[in-house]
Structure formats: C-alpha cells, structure tokens
C-alpha cells in the first residue's frame, strides 16, 4: 500500500537527544492524511521537537520519518514547501506591518501576493494589515501567524501551541479556525498542553510524556481505555449523610469536590447504591454520570504510568497513533 496515500506523517522509532536530555525518545506515531492530530503533553514532553523533526529542521538521532512519502532529511525543502507552521512564538517582525510580514512569507513560499488579503480576511486580521505588528495584541499576532501559515495553501499544518497566551474568546476563535482548516482536507498536527483544546477538534490525540507517545487514539476511545471505572456525581440536601458513601458495596472511592464524586466498580451498582441512600434518609438533589474528559484521562494515564513503567514498545492493542480517519 502506498504510505503516502494512507499516512500523511509517519514517525517510526524516532529519537533525538540534546546532550543528556532525550527530547524525543523512540517515538512512533502516524497521522493519516486529512486528519487532525493533537499532541498533548506537559512542557518538555517533546511536542515542539516532534514538529521540528517533521519539517526536517532537526535531524533525528535514530528512527525514520516519512512526510507525504518524503524523507525530511533528503527532501526537506520540498516538505517545508508543502507545510505551514505556526511556531510557539508567532515569529513576526514587530517593526513591519502585518502586510509586510505576509508579503515576506508569500515571496519565500512563492505564493501570489493576491492571497494575502484572502488569508488575512479568513483569520479576521485584514483590517489591521497596514498597522505595525508591534501594536498587535497576542490574539492578532496569532491570527497573523495563522494567516501566514496558510498563504501557500499547504497540505500539512503544524501548529505549535497556537492558543498559548490567548484570552478564552481569542482561543476559541483560533480553534474554530483550525477546525475549519481541518474541514478543508488538510492534515493538521497541533500541540498543546491544554487538555480541553483537544476535545472536539482532534481525530486523534497523542498523549506524550518524556519524548514518547504514551497513548494515542480518538478521544472517546482513549477515555474508554483509561477511564474504566465510571464516576457519578451525587448531591443531597443533607450532605453529611453522603460522607460514608465509600463504604457502600461496589463503590471504589468517593471524594467531595463541590458535590460527591463517586467512583463505581461498574454502572450496574448504581441502582442499589441509590436505593440504599434513600433508605438511609438521604434526600438526593442531583445524580449524574460524569463525562470522561481528556483532563481526567490525562491524569488517569499519568497515574497508571507512575504505577507501571512505560514499555519499550507500545502494547499491541494500543498502537501509539494509528487510527482510522
């Protein structure tokens, strides 16, 4: 099968060290064409290094990288021509206008200058193109960097923490724009350490830690994999009667956090537990299952990883990143 047709970006056992630090360590991941992958992990997880390896800006110490069927070490110029990158810092010339910054990129990528206004309008920055970038807000800078990244209509978009430093409104706007870009068939890799950003945007989440892909898959699939114990939220008029909940049969744990968060062995034990509470005179005001979020998933995964050292190779049932678009 032609890999270029199935996997836009493929990393296999890739490692990269900086001195004694393993920035990326035996990383294997695959992002099919036309999908959105979110690299999720704390600072130092290897997200930025991964982006740099994909464009060929960094050379791997070991492993193979395949981008659109090309090797970044041999065909780096061609890959970079077909990629649009938003670095973690917008990387703009402050003393120049927004238009000059875009014009510069258009010339480098050989894009027509006619695309400048179109790209700027797409990201709602067209009204400020004549202004010096030094006067831009953080949100405007990010929008300009995004506009610059799509000027040449790239096949791959690599967005390194594109919402860093943005207020919630701007962050949402940027995420909507990314969703729109992904909808137009581009392959998108976005890095973030903000878990909620990955939800609703990612076809695939790759949880990274210490330079490795610890887990990968669709957010729901990952939640099911790691969040095996259901959690329900219970509140009552007489809350003091809830404090002994963890002694009920089938209850693994209970923790107060604005309401009682109860972890169950399985959802089947819930009716019996509720009946027991009613018998004990608890006047229940709220009971609802808690939806598994990536945040829960992330901390659950971290907890499990602390308990079990990471395997050298991904488990057979959980290939680090392969997924069906």
């Amino acid at each position: 099968m032609n890999r270029e047709m199935t996997a836009g970006i493929h990393l296999d056992g890739v490692s990269r060290r900086f001195g004694v630090i393993r920035a990326v360590d035996d990383l294997t991941m695959s992002v099919p064409r036309g999908t959105v992958a979110v690299l999720l992990g704390p600072n130092g997880a290897g997200k930025t290094t991964t982006v740099r390896l994909i464009t060929g800006s960094l050379r791997p110490d070991a492993g193979t990288i395949d981008v659109l069927g090309l090797n970044p070490m041999e065909d780096g110029d061609e890959i970079r021509r077909r990629c649009g990158v938003v670095p973690p810092k917008p990387a703009l010339y402050d003393r120049l206008s927004g238009r000059d910054n875009l014009r510069y990129a258009a010339r480098i990528w050989g894009a027509s200058e006619d695309t400048i206004d179109e790209a700027a309008a797409r990201f709602g920055i067209d009204h400020a193109l004549h202004l010096e970038v030094a006067g831009y807000s953080t949100g405007m800078r990010t929008r300009l960097a995004l506009a610059r990244a799509v000027l040449h209509d790239p096949e791959i978009l690599l967005l390194d923490e594109p919402t860093a430093g943005l207020d919630p409104e701007s962050a949402r706007a940027v995420l909507d724009l990314i969703r729109e870009l992904a909808g137009s068939g581009r392959t998108v890799i976005m890095t973030t350490h903000l878990l909620h950003e990955a939800e609703g945007i990612a076809d695939q989440v790759i949880l990274m830690g210490a330079g490795r892909a610890r887990a990968a898959g669709h957010p729901i699939e990952l939640a099911n994999r790691y969040m095996t114990s259901p959690v329900v939220i219970i509140d009552a008029e007489n809350r003091d009667l809830l404090k002994d909940l963890d002694t009920h049969r089938g209850v693994l744990g209970a923790k107060w956090n604005g309401a009682m968060h109860v972890t169950l062995e399985s959802i089947e034990v819930l009716p019996d537990m509720v009946a027991a509470l009613v018998r004990d005179g608890v006047r229940i005001t709220r009971i609802e299952p808690m939806a598994a979020t990536l945040e829960h998933l992330y901390f659950e995964m971290q907890r499990q990883l602390r308990d079990v050292p990471p395997p050298d190779t991904p488990p057979p049932d959980a290939p680090p990143a392969e997924m069906t678009p």
Binding site: T55, P88, Y93, L158
Partner: protein
C-alpha cells in the same frame, strides 16, 4: 541557490533597517563625522595662516620621502602638498572604518537576532536553503555599510575639491588609488569581516555576545586596512590592486565556507525547549 530567495531575505532586513531610525541616524552621524566633519577640519587647518609652520613641516617631510612616494604627492607649495597628502592618504582608512562599523552592527545580529526574535524558527521551517539565508543575511549586512561609504565618498570628494582644490591647483580627487580603494578594496575587506561575523552570529548565544565578537573581528581588519593604505603612498595603483586581489581571494573563501557554519538547528534555539 535562488538569487530571488537571497534577495527576498536581504530585502526584508534592509526594509527593517530603513524604517528603523535608531539604526540609520547613528549611521548618518558616523558617516558625517568621518566623511564630512574630520576632513573639513583637517583640510581647514592647512588653509589657515596660523598653521603655516605646521604646514611647512609637513611639506618638508613629504619632500624628503623616497622618489616614488614623493612623485605621487601633488602640489607646488608646502601647503598644497600637505593638503593633498591629508586628503589622499590620511583619510584613506576611513573608507574601511565606516563600512565595517556600520555593517558589523547588522551582521552581528544576522542570525542570533533572528533567533532571539523567534524568526529563526520561521526561517528554519521555511523552504529557503541555508545558503540562501546566509547569503541574504550577508548581503543585508554589507549593503548599508557599502552604500554609506559610497555616498560618504562622494561627499568627501566634494569637500576635498572645494577646500583643497584651490591650493593644490584644481580638482584632483578622487585619485586612481581612491577609485580602486572604493571599488576594489573595500568590498572584499567588508565581505571578509562579515563572513566571519555572520558565522559567529550563528554560534553565539546572545546579540550582546555577537556584538563583542564583531568588535574583535573588526579591529584587526581595520588595523590591516591602515597598513594597506600606507602602501598607497608608495604606489597607489599597484598597492590597491595587490591588496584588493588578496582580499578578494580571502572574501570568496570566507563567504563560501561561511554558509557551512549555519544550520537549521542553529536557527532554532535548540535545547532551550524540548
């Protein structure tokens, strides 16, 4: 290598310099001091009656020079010879000092400055070849210094001819040696220095360190230019051609090998963030 890409890189830097008053105002002041103020004052001294004794001494010294050197110095009187020698020989090294000072300031920031601004990351992810980025940065560093020198040279020529011309016996400047200096000697000296400075700019960690390193590079090259310019006294044309030829060889080697010092990894602040 695409020269269009090289010019794209150079043009954005030149544009940034052009709109940056805090860069070009000191540049104009520097050029003004070396090409206008100092020549005006030094040549003015020759024409003052109070300076007669000093002028006579200079004239005597010039008369006592070896045959070839003495033949080069034009002028019938001691004042004429003093004015001629000051205009032609004394200020020749200025033609090196000015472009090196101006260009080294730009060259020192060429790579490390981009890295500090985050632009290095943008360039590293771009389809530009490293050689194109290097050549563009080199060009953007060389052009301001050289243009300032050429413009300053023109103004200097006018000042010399207006102030010293009547004493020497007419407009005599630029001489053949000066033409060679500006067109044949200055460009390679500039390129030699910049090829080293831009290379260092890729290796140092901060702009401040790059500026220090640039000063270290500029100083010996300025001293070498003084030595070279003294050769013009004996035989301007041959000396300039010889010095220029050697400098061009060094410049071509320096520029060609300089690109190898830069890599995409150096454009990134690699190691700072994993």
């Amino acid at each position: 290598m695409s020269w269009s890409n090289v010019w794209t890189v150079a043009r954005i830097d030149l544009h940034r310099l052009f709109i940056s008053k805090d860069y070009w105002i000191p540049m104009v002041i520097l050029g003004g001091i070396f090409f206008v103020f100092i020549p005006w004052v030094l040549l003015g001294v020759v024409t003052r009656p109070q300076s007669l004794e000093i002028v006579q001494q200079i004239g005597d010294v010039l008369t006592s020079l070896p045959g070839t050197a003495a033949d080069v110095v034009q002028g019938e009187t001691a004042a004429a010879r003093a004015a001629y020698s000051r205009a032609v020989f004394l200020l020749a090294p200025v033609a090196i000092v000015v472009p090196l000072t101006i260009s080294s300031a730009v060259g020192a920031q060429a790579i490390v400055g981009e890295r500090e601004r985050g632009i290095g990351e943008f360039l590293a992810h771009s389809p530009l070849q490293i050689r194109e980025i290097y050549a563009g940065k080199l060009l953007a560093s060389a052009i301001p210094g050289y243009v300032a020198t050429v413009v300053g040279f023109g103004i200097y020529a006018l000042i010399v001819n207006f102030r010293a011309g009547p004493i020497v016996g007419g407009w005599f400047f630029p001489t053949a040696g000066w033409w060679l200096l500006i067109l044949w000697v200055v460009p390679p000296f500039l390129l030699v220095a910049l090829s080293i400075i831009v290379r260092l700019s890729a290796r140092v960690q901060s702009t401040a360190a790059a500026q220090q390193a640039a000063s270290l590079i500029s100083l010996p090259i300025i001293m070498a230019s003084y030595v070279a310019s003294s050769g013009f006294v004996l035989n301007p044309t041959v000396a300039a051609m010889l010095v220029g030829s050697v400098a061009w060889v060094l410049a071509i080697w320096g520029v060609a090998s300089g690109a190898r010092a830069i890599s995409r990894e150096r454009l990134l602040s690699v190691g700072a963030e994993a």
